[in-house]
């Protein structure tokens, strides 16, 4: 039935401007969406998912242009419509939910004013009606204090709640189509569940059609009726969700699956009398008057990986800051090979500083954009090992070879000329340059696509075997923990709630919180979310630990 088609995109081509050239981002994609249908768009970053989603609104970002094809929304071709006609549709009949609600809510206005903006300006309701309606939608999306929450400013509301408030805002004009652009990517697993549940309920209640964009197959499996896989601006495969999950036909789709099969090489357990490389003993720490760590103790042994997991705000990164001496603990000790370290990095010797290095989550911001790769890596070589001239250059070449990057090709480049995965490798080389015994990896794969992330994990694993490094691996992603950890430390509210070897941690019985974390990781089964929600409702458990 052609009447049933809400959105019909044919041969859509979008170019992006690089220097003086227009390079294709979307290379001719067809897309059909029926009323009330949820379509999943998946692919790695750079696949053109967001560009495609925005194009469905007749919108392209600055520096891009639609160079071909047609985008028919409810019979109206958006590529031929005037800007005024497109504006009349946006917000009213097609709405958008952005990846980071924290960045996409205007910090200067209250939530409810931003909610009512579209209905009032599009003439759907007046301000008073819109406010009543907002409260109703906030309630349906299970926001805490629905009568009051709208009168807060965005910074006064937590990330998961903001994401639901944004979904409510998108629904304010009861649109026919909503574009969800990675709405849960920035959230913790436990928070993700309630947002997913809220979105799914809202979409089915109002019979809204949706395009759900994500790089996470397991998430899209819960949300979408049909899935399209994109790669480099082209359609790889399209099928019903169940067909796609059970019988993907393309190699690329299968490779997206394969990522989770990586397992780090097995290591022998440390002997009972072995001295740990790093040992935290009852560490307390606070930011100003606010205590953030309470009696944290764990050991990290030579050649082993300890994964520290927990939601944001659980104190994972703070523990790392204590080890590096950036945040001196208020009490407790940090031992390095059995000897206590001075609490502040200012009082540590150069050798003590050299022993513990860090790799950061955002390789983009952790590398100086104005320095060449050889200088970024050469600096710690010079500073810690005292090498200069030819010896320094030799060492830099060795390090680049070690991270599988050709020194002659990459040495003279700037970070801006590298891909995300390559930048993260440079971050690893910089940490290795100090010749440390111990490396803190702070969410090093969170900002990367799954295939690239797997490459980084393999590299870290190989380096550990070759160099006998000890890793403290901070992450909120339990799939990564499964892949790389030897031991696991689970943290919540600044306390260690459970710790032990990985095998024990992944087999029941668990601490309640560990259980919540583990069960919140989405699985590929399309019925997973439904079953989990049923189960949790039956047992009367909360969806997450987030409090208002």
């Amino acid at each position: 039935m052609s009447d049933d088609i809400l959105l019909k995109m044919r041969g859509v081509k979008i170019d992006g401007k690089t220097g003086d050239d227009w390079l294709p981002i979307i290379k001719g994609i067809d897309l059909d969406l029926r009323r009330g249908e949820v379509l999943g768009l998946i692919g790695e970053s750079g696949a053109g998912k967001s560009t495609m989603g925005l194009a469905a609104m007749g919108y392209v970002r600055g520096g891009c242009r639609i160079s071909g094809g047609s985008i028919e929304f409810d019979g109206q071709d958006l590529t031929k419509a005037s800007e005024g006609q497109r504006r009349a549709l946006r917000g009213k009949r097609i709405a958008y939910v952005a990846q980071s609600a924290a960045a996409s809510f205007n910090p200067a206005h209250r939530l409810i004013d931003q909610y009512s903006e579209a209905p009032v300006k599009h003439g759907v309701m007046n301000k008073a009606e819109a406010e009543v309606d907002a409260t109703d939608l906030y309630r349906r999306l299970q926001l805490p204090n629905p009568d009051e929450i709208g009168f807060r400013y965005p910074h006064q509301v937590s990330g998961g709640q903001l994401q639901r408030a944004m979904t409510a805002m998108a629904m304010s004009c009861r649109p026919d189509l909503i574009i969800f652009d990675e709405p849960t990517t920035a959230l913790d697993v436990t928070t993700q569940i309630e947002v997913l549940a809220a979105i799914r309920n809202a979409v089915s209640q109002f019979g809204t059609a949706a395009i759900y964009i994500t790089h996470d197959l397991a998430v899209v499996a819960q949300m979408a009726d049909r899935i399209m896989v994109l790669k480099h601006g082209e359609l790889v495969e399209e099928a019903d969700t169940r067909t796609m999950l059970s019988a993907p036909t393309q190699d690329y789709t299968k490779s997206l699956w394969a990522v989770r099969s990586f397992k780090a090489s097995a290591k022998a357990a440390p002997t009972a009398d072995a001295v740990p490389v790093v040992s935290l003993r009852n560490v307390d720490a606070s930011y100003g008057p606010v205590p953030v760590l309470h009696g944290v103790s764990f050991d990290i042994h030579k050649g082993r990986t300890v994964a520290v997991v927990g939601e944001s705000g659980s104190g994972k990164s703070t523990a790392a800051r204590c080890i590096t001496g950036l945040l001196p603990p208020t009490s407790g000790e940090i031992l390095f090979n059995g000897k206590a370290l001075p609490p502040s990095f200012k009082r540590r010797s150069k050798d003590q500083l050299r022993q513990a290095q860090m790799i950061y989550q955002m390789a983009d911001t952790a590398l100086n954009p104005k320095q060449r790769i050889r200088d970024i890596i050469g600096r710690p070589v010079e500073f810690y090992l005292g090498l200069s001239g030819r010896a320094r250059d030799e060492r830099v070449r060795e390090l680049l070879n070690l991270i599988e990057m050709e020194p002659d090709v990459f040495g003279h480049r700037f970070p801006g000329e590298l891909s995300g995965g390559q930048k993260q490798r440079i971050g690893i080389a910089r940490a290795l340059a100090a010749d440390p015994e111990f490396i803190i990896c702070d969410e090093v794969t969170s900002a990367l696509d799954q295939l690239v992330a797997e490459g980084i994990l393999r590299l870290l694993d190989r380096l550990q075997t070759e160099l006998g490094l000890a890793y403290m691996f901070i992450t909120h992603d339990l799939a990564t923990v499964r892949a790389i950890a030897d031991e696991v430390v689970v943290m919540q509210h600044g306390r260690v709630v459970e710790q032990g070897p990985k095998v024990e941690m992944f087999t029941p019985p668990h601490h309640d919180y560990t259980d919540l974390l583990l069960s919140s990781v989405p699985e590929m089964d399309p019925d997973w979310l439904t079953n989990l929600l049923d189960e949790r409702t039956r047992e009367g458990k909360p969806l997450s630990t987030e409090t208002s």
């Binding site: 919108y59 504006r87 946006r90 917000g91 009213k92 960045a103 996409s104 206005h109 300006k121």
Partner: protein
Amino acid sequence: MHPIASMALKRLGLGLLTLLVVSIIIFSAVEMLPGDLAQEILGQAATPETVAAFRKELGLDKPPVERYFDWLGGAVQGDFGKSLASKRLISDLMATRLGNTLFLASFAAIIAVPVSIVLGLLAALYRNTWFDRMINVVTLSSISFPEFFVAYILILMLSVGYPFDLGWVLLITGIWLLAEGYGSVKASLKISKVPALPALFATIGVALIANFFLGWWSPQMQGIEAYPSISNIAPNTPFWERVDRSFLPALTLTLVVTAYMMRMTRAAIINLLASPYVEMARLKGMSPWRVIVTHALPNALAPIINVVAISLAFLVTGVVVVEVVFVYPGVGQLMVDSVTKRDVTVVQACCLIFAATYILLNLLADILAIATNPRLLHPK
């Protein structure tokens, strides 16, 4: 206490401290001037006894530190001592002059601030179009000219009336702009090629057309009383008379400060246009003007408030040249007169008042910039 109140008190304390340091610098600078003040005033013919007696009368025989504290103690109570030249109380002298200067500054500010912010918003809205470039060229050229030049051009156009060679003035102005401002204007507008010859012809064309129309528009041609080129204002001048007489200096100041505020507004707004919440507003179907005014502007207030405050401070303290050109009886002119008469006590007082204005306006800008941040106004 509310965080903003405590912050304001802290800033106020720091402002007073800065003012104290400035007062030391002013006093020391005047102290370091070469020559003996009493000798200067009495002239070469004075006997040593007269000079000594005069020094005693002025209090110059006391050690500098003591004199500094005397001066400071007086200044805190509003007593700046007596003018050396006229023997009048400086506070009396200052009261009317400061009033006049503040009147002129407020007059200019009332025109300049809204005009430049609206122009900045419009320039951001129509960025990189001819409209944007034109606003940039006009405002940039008005600050590229020296103030006195702007002042004389305005006198020529609005006060003296239509002279036969006004077209030539515009033509010379245009050529001057092309020669002097060419490089900076080109760089700031990122226009890679400004065809010089067509621009020259365009200027000549505009000059000739303007010449023609100004012929009708000229105050004298219409028999309208022109704006006075000398702003003689007395304390008993009625308000509208005052407005009329200080119109030309106010307009000069407006032309001089508009560019800074307009360009900062434009830059601050454009800076935010790439942010996700601005994109969100566009995706909600909001009109471009609404996106800029309700979504970008509230978040760009901090830098705009700062540049407005600095411009206001300039309007009070930077009026020296303009006041002299228009013979406007303000603090700036008082200062220039006092410098020529070596009336150091008055110069000191003027400096201190200018410094206090600067510090006060910056303080106000800091507080307002923080107070417009909802994160601080509505803590968690």
